[in-house]
């Protein structure tokens, strides 16, 4: 554990080196010739992801690097692969999107790989200092990406809202870390787990630690867009460029959940399987937040006429379902969260891929302007429909199975809180069915207006086509062939619980 072992962090090294090469190339090349930057970033992300997969095969238990401040287990590998795939899909989308922008191609790609690097580090975080730095690397990159369309006042405004609330959340997170450090005298997560924190946290004696954990959860709650820290989400989703929104909705949210799981497990680890109920009010608190998040997200989405805004609210709702898994706080709950995130990856990125393409044609994100998509672009309409139905949780698609696992884990708790949470969750599912089906109805049942902008979209790039197909196939595969992915999620959840 006290080894340097720097080779273990090879995916991060690869990303760092390719980011620096891309930075150098960006400085060297004039405005319009940024292919070199794009290639360096693509190569970096692909090689890093493949390396992570390779590491996953050779992995035996948990390995440490940098004197125990960096850890690699099945859990980190799974998330690194998720982040790598997310980054690739997002890059395919941004290549398409950047064709409509005349400058800043190099910077956009650089910011993408910086954020990806932060996500890779987040998956291997073993202490609070690394946690904060990695999280800020992601967040600051996203501030820039959100405000990237600098001539669009909505993008700037989204950036301001994101940065003000994000910086506020960072401050709370940092204060929480300071208090946890004060209570345990160490920044390492495993010291927190072994310091008897779980005993303290359930009792009045551990006030400093309790307060610290609470503040940390506030900071992370912002990242995952849970109530009451969700206000930024719809605005930022609407204002940011579509590939950025896609990256936010998957990458940033998953990174928040990685950290949330790691911190919750470090604080309350020994209580796993006896459940959060043993930690007195913590289980109830998380259940309350999960319920409110589900209700806020799904009810808010019902009135939205803008598809990106609707997806913003729906993303809040999904954070609520994932929090239900945290509330279950056992192997089944963690497995469900991981499966849900895998399903969410293909589902939400498939939806956003279509949004990017359609927006290029119609210059609009209004749901009404999707009328006639079914006739003009049957394939895009199919991907969008499957994505939306999977988000809603219609069997036998991927999203259904994720929701099923989450609900099963929660109901198995058998407590009143768990049953009520499951009831609220099902209410959310019913509501979400309504607004997703409204969009689907618009796509198929309504004709495009005469002389409207809706036409057949041609010239979809090959990477973009690949994204669409992979997402479509992924949505079905994770719904039908559950077992292999289920065992991946189970391994990762076991690794997380083993610490």
């Amino acid at each position: 554990m006290n080894e340097w072992n720097i080779g273990l962090a090879m995916p991060e090294w690869i990303l760092a080196i390719s980011a620096l090469v891309a930075l150098f190339l960006d400085a060297r090349t004039p405005y319009h010739r940024k292919e070199g930057v794009g290639n360096a970033v693509w190569i970096g992300v692909i090689v890093a992801t493949l390396w992570s997969i390779m590491q996953g095969f050779g992995l035996d238990g948990k390995e440490y690097a940098f004197r125990g401040r960096y850890g690699l287990d099945a859990f980190s590998v799974l998330f690194k692969v998720i982040f790598g795939i997310t980054a690739m899909f997002v890059m395919a989308m941004s290549d398409t999107w950047l064709k409509r922008v005349d400058r800043g191609h190099g910077e956009f790609r650089l910011l993408t790989i910086f954020a990806t690097m932060g996500m890779f580090f987040v998956a291997s975080v073993e202490d609070f200092a690394t946690l904060f730095v990695a999280l800020e690397l992601i967040t600051v990159s996203f501030y820039c990406l959100t405000a990237f369309k600098r001539n669009d006042v909505r993008s700037i405004e989204a950036g301001i809202k994101y940065i003000v609330l994000g910086a506020l959340a960072s401050a709370f997170l940092l204060l929480g870390i300071a208090f946890i450090y004060g209570a345990t005298g160490s920044l390492l997560l495993r010291d927190l787990a072994s310091s008897g924190a779980a005993d303290q946290i359930g009792h009045a004696g551990g006030a400093l630690l309790q307060f610290g954990v609470l503040l940390t959860l506030v900071g992370l709650g912002f990242k995952i867009a849970a109530v009451p820290f969700q206000v930024w989400t719809p605005d930022v989703y609407e204002g940011a460029a579509s590939p950025v929104t896609a990256f936010l909705s998957m990458g940033s949210k998953a990174a928040g959940f990685v950290l949330l799981l790691k911190v919750v497990r470090a604080c309350l680890g020994p209580m796993a399987d006896s459940g959060l109920a043993a930690a007195s009010s913590w289980g109830a608190l998380i259940a309350l937040l999960a319920g409110l998040t589900i209700l806020y997200g799904n009810l808010g989405a019902m009135w939205q006429g803008n598809l990106k805004r609707l997806l913003g609210y729906s993303s809040i709702g999904h954070a609520g379902y994932l929090l239900m898994g945290v509330m279950a706080f056992n192997h089944a709950g963690f497995t469900a969260i991981l499966y849900y995130l895998m399903a969410y990856l293909f589902t939400v990125l498939g939806v956003f891929a279509v949004v990017v393409l359609v927006n290029g044609l119609t210059k609009s994100h209004r749901v009404d302007d999707y009328a006639g998509l079914g006739r003009t672009n049957p394939f895009l309409a199919l991907v969008l429909t499957c994505g939306l139905l999977s988000l809603a949780g219609v069997p036998p698609l991927a999203g259904f199975f994720g929701k099923f696992l989450i609900f099963r884990a929660v109901i198995a708790k058998g407590t009143v809180v768990a049953y009520s949470l499951a009831a609220v969750g099902s209410l959310g599912v019913v509501v979400s069915m309504y607004y997703y089906l409204c969009v689907v109805k618009r796509i198929y049942m309504h004709e495009a207006p005469e002389n409207g902008p809706m036409k057949t979209i041609s010239g979809i790039s090959r990477p973009m086509m690949a994204v669409l197909w992979i997402c479509l196939i992924g949505i079905f595969v994770l719904g039908f062939f559950v077992q292999p992915f289920m065992s991946l999620a189970e391994q990762a959840a076991s690794a997380l619980l083993a610490g």
């Binding site: 620096l20 930075l23 150098f24 960006d26 400085a27 060297r28 004060g182 209570a183 345990t184 005298g185 004696g205 551990g206 006030a207 400093l208």
Partner: protein, 146 residues
């Protein structure tokens, strides 16, 4: 909170803050007395235009204090802060490199420690200079352009 209490009990060395308080007292006494003396001895003059100037004597003030500055100042200032603040990493590093860490704490031998420290700083400075190179190439420091 127990942990904190133990910690608090450990740190009971008396600290002599007398010089600080004397300094504070001096600062207050001096500034108050100067104001008081000028108020007591000075002639009362009606305020006039010349009195209201920011600088009562000397060159007449020209222009307005609230003029807009060029955005270039902002860019240079922010870049200065960013590169300036990176220097804080150099200080703890220099303490280690100068022999602040005994052998065997982080590495077995002093040579290994120095090698590691050197490599670490080389990586850090490479990244920093690459950032600087990017800034220069983007013409962010060019006063004439952009």
């Amino acid at each position: 909170m127990d942990h904190l209490l133990i910690v608090a009990a450990r740190d009971n060395a008396p600290v002599d803050y007398l010089p600080v308080f004397i300094l504070l007292l001096l600062a207050v006494v001096l500034s108050v007395s100067q104001l008081a003396i000028s108020w007591l001895l000075g002639k009362r003059v009606e305020t006039n235009e010349a009195k209201d100037e920011p600088y009562e004597c000397g060159i007449e003030a020209d222009g307005h204090a609230h003029t807009r500055f060029s955005v270039k100042f902002y860019l240079v200032a922010v870049l200065f802060i960013l590169f300036d603040i990176e220097v804080v990493f150099l200080y703890p590093w220099a303490v280690h490199f100068g022999g602040g860490v005994p052998d065997g704490v982080v590495f077995e031998t002093r040579g290994e420690l120095l090698g590691f420290l050197f490599a670490e700083m080389a990586v850090f400075l490479t990244i920093l200079f690459l950032g600087w190179y990017w800034v220069v190439k983007k013409k962010a420091l060019d006063w004439e352009e952009a």
